[in-house]
């Protein structure tokens, strides 16, 4: 074996130090829930956006339910007014439902599930009661709600709603909801049961 030159040795040691630093920061980032704030701040600065990673699919627990994002919209009575309250709501539909297709496209179904997860987290953390009334203000102000609403509005704007063509009307209000189907407990005699959480109606400003 040739004795490595000192410069090459220094370079190699630098590489090794780089590897150790990189994976130390990776581990801090991966286990950020259990790390001190200052360590997270340093790791975040290094890891986002170049080395972002998240390996927590189905961890620590698997959701005990199947969840679907559904939407409906309110068609304004023809020809005016364009403010809400009148007209008729469409039936609730799956967010990625497409006419003529047996199943929703996998890519869009993955997108929908991402929104469902974010909205479920919002329900868990930001839904509260005030004088026995359920308050959604934190949820409707969240990026998760905005993203889900934007998605259904955009997707179905592109797909052209049936009454758009027929009556040249634009929806004046939108509403989304999450439909949870809870899996039956293993070895239990009970069937799956459903629960629906409707978010407040959204009236966009008239164009």
């Amino acid at each position: 074996m040739n004795r490595p030159k000192s410069l090459l040795t220094a370079f190699t040691l630098l590489l090794i130090a780089g590897l150790v630093t990189h994976f130390s920061l990776t581990l801090i980032y991966c286990f950020r829930d259990n790390m001190p704030y200052k360590a997270n701040a340093v790791a975040d600065r290094y890891m986002v956006p170049c080395f972002h990673q998240n390996w927590k699919l189905f961890a620590p627990d698997v959701p005990m339910y199947n969840v679907e994002l559904e939407w409906r919209c309110l068609a304004a009575p023809h020809p005016q007014p364009l403010s809400g309250g009148e007209g008729s709501w469409t039936p609730w539909q799956d967010a990625t439902y497409e006419e003529g297709l047996k199943e929703s496209p996998r890519v869009l179904e993955t997108v929908e599930q991402g929104f469902c997860t974010q909205l479920s987290a919002q329900l868990l953390n930001n839904l509260y009661r005030k004088d026995s009334t359920i308050i959604y203000d934190r949820i409707v102000g969240s990026p998760a709600y905005a993203s889900a609403l934007f998605y259904v509005m955009k997707y179905h704007e592109q797909k052209k709603l049936p009454f758009n063509d027929r009556m040249n009307r634009q929806p004046v209000a939108w509403q989304i909801r999450l439909r949870y189907t809870f899996a039956p407990q293993p070895r239990s005699m009970f069937d799956a049961h459903e629960q629906v959480v409707e978010f407040p109606e959204y009236y966009p400003a008239p164009r």
């Binding site: 074996m1 004795r3 490595p4 090459l8 040795t9 370079f11 190699t12 040691l13 590489l15 090794i16 780089g18 590897l19 990189h22 994976f23 990776t26 581990l27 991966c30 286990f31 986002v48 956006p49 170049c50 080395f51 972002h52 990673q53 998240n54 390996w55 927590k56 699919l57 189905f58 961890a59 620590p60 627990d61 698997v62 959701p63 005990m64 339910y65 199947n66 679907e68 996998r106 890519v107 869009l108 179904e109 993955t110 997108v111 599930q113 991402g114 929104f115 990026p143 905005a146 993203s147 934007f150 998605y151 955009k154 997707y155 592109q158 899996a183 039956p184 293993p186 070895r187 799956a192």
Partner: protein
């Protein structure tokens, strides 16, 4: 101490370890990107086009964030980045072929290695841009392959330069450690929950419509013990992977079990991107003698 430093540096600079498996691994990583791009081509308008389906979030206003998140704001650049990504993924895949490096001219080698580094980094950067602009459409497979693409950028497999050999070995070690980090993180989080411990995790997973079918749902209800058994086996595999994969005696069988495990994830749960990505990562663990000369 000096002895250990010498041994360590010698390991890094003596030769490119796992050369053939690294070539195959690098080719497969970029082939994965190419395949993914072809699949997503039909959805590029909805995911990255002017009328894309994603709400534009705010991000920290720094140079690096502005650079990597630019497609979130500037969807007009998406077709160029998408095309660049596909072309660079193809060129990166080809860049591992030894034919380009069969020259004794030093400057030719420098040229080809620089080109290889350029197209591989370009695949990584464009992949990151596409990922952040449609983050909801991707699973862990894209994250894993992006990391591998970054490490593989520095895999100069066909080189005689000691510095580049050291960099290549570091890149290979990074790939190996990254796979262990995936298993370590996933398994430790799972150990902190209850579903994996009581064996109901697979049962509940197969009750999520996106990852299942009616047949699998009724199967898990009628064969709950088998479902529990596979949950525990899956957990044990993930917990033990970072240790067992280094044991020479069991490595081959361990990786074969892993291939079956990830085939299940790909075929049954429908997570093709992640399943294929993990199987590709196993190639880098394959020991040199397992791939015969002339296979590539």
């Amino acid at each position: 101490m000096k002895k250990y430093v010498t041994q360590l540096t010698h390991y890094f600079i003596s030769e490119v370890h796992g050369k053939r498996s690294l070539v195959l691994f690098g080719m497969l990583v970029y082939a994965w990107f190419l395949l993914q791009a072809v699949v997503l081509f039909f959805w590029h308008e909805q995911l990255w086009g002017a009328d894309k389906l994603f709400f534009r979030h705010g991000f920290p206003d720094t140079f690096i964030e502005n650079f990597f998140f630019q497609l979130v704001y500037e969807s007009g650049r998406a077709p160029v980045v998408f095309a660049l990504h596909m072309v660079c993924a193809f060129l990166s895949m080809v860049s591992f072929h030894p034919a380009f490096y069969r020259t004794k001219n030093k400057w030719s080698l420098v040229f080809w290695n620089t080109c290889a580094l350029g197209v591989r980094l370009c695949t990584w950067v464009s992949g990151l841009m596409l990922f952040y602009a449609a983050i909801e459409a991707f699973d862990g497979g894209m994250l894993l392959m992006l990391l591998m693409a970054f490490y593989c950028s520095f895999a100069f497999v066909h080189t005689a330069n000691s510095y580049l050999i050291a960099v290549t070995n570091a890149a290979r070690i990074a790939c190996l450690v990254q796979v262990c980090v995936v298993y370590l993180t996933a398994s430790l989080y799972k150990l902190g929950g209850t579903h994996w411990i009581d064996g109901s995790a697979l049962y509940y997973t197969l009750h999520i419509e996106l990852f299942s079918s009616n047949w699998w749902q009724s199967f898990t209800e009628n064969n709950y013990f088998i479902t529990q058994l596979f949950t525990w086996l899956g957990l044990a595999y993930q917990v033990l992977f970072p240790l067992m994969v280094w044991v020479k005696r069991v490595q081959k069988i361990w990786l074969l079990v892993g291939i079956a495990f990830h085939l299940f994830i790909a075929v049954v749960l429908g997570l093709w991107g992640f399943g294929l990505g993990m199987m590709i990562c196993y190639v880098v663990f394959w020991r040199e003698q397992k791939i015969k000369d002339g296979d590539l």
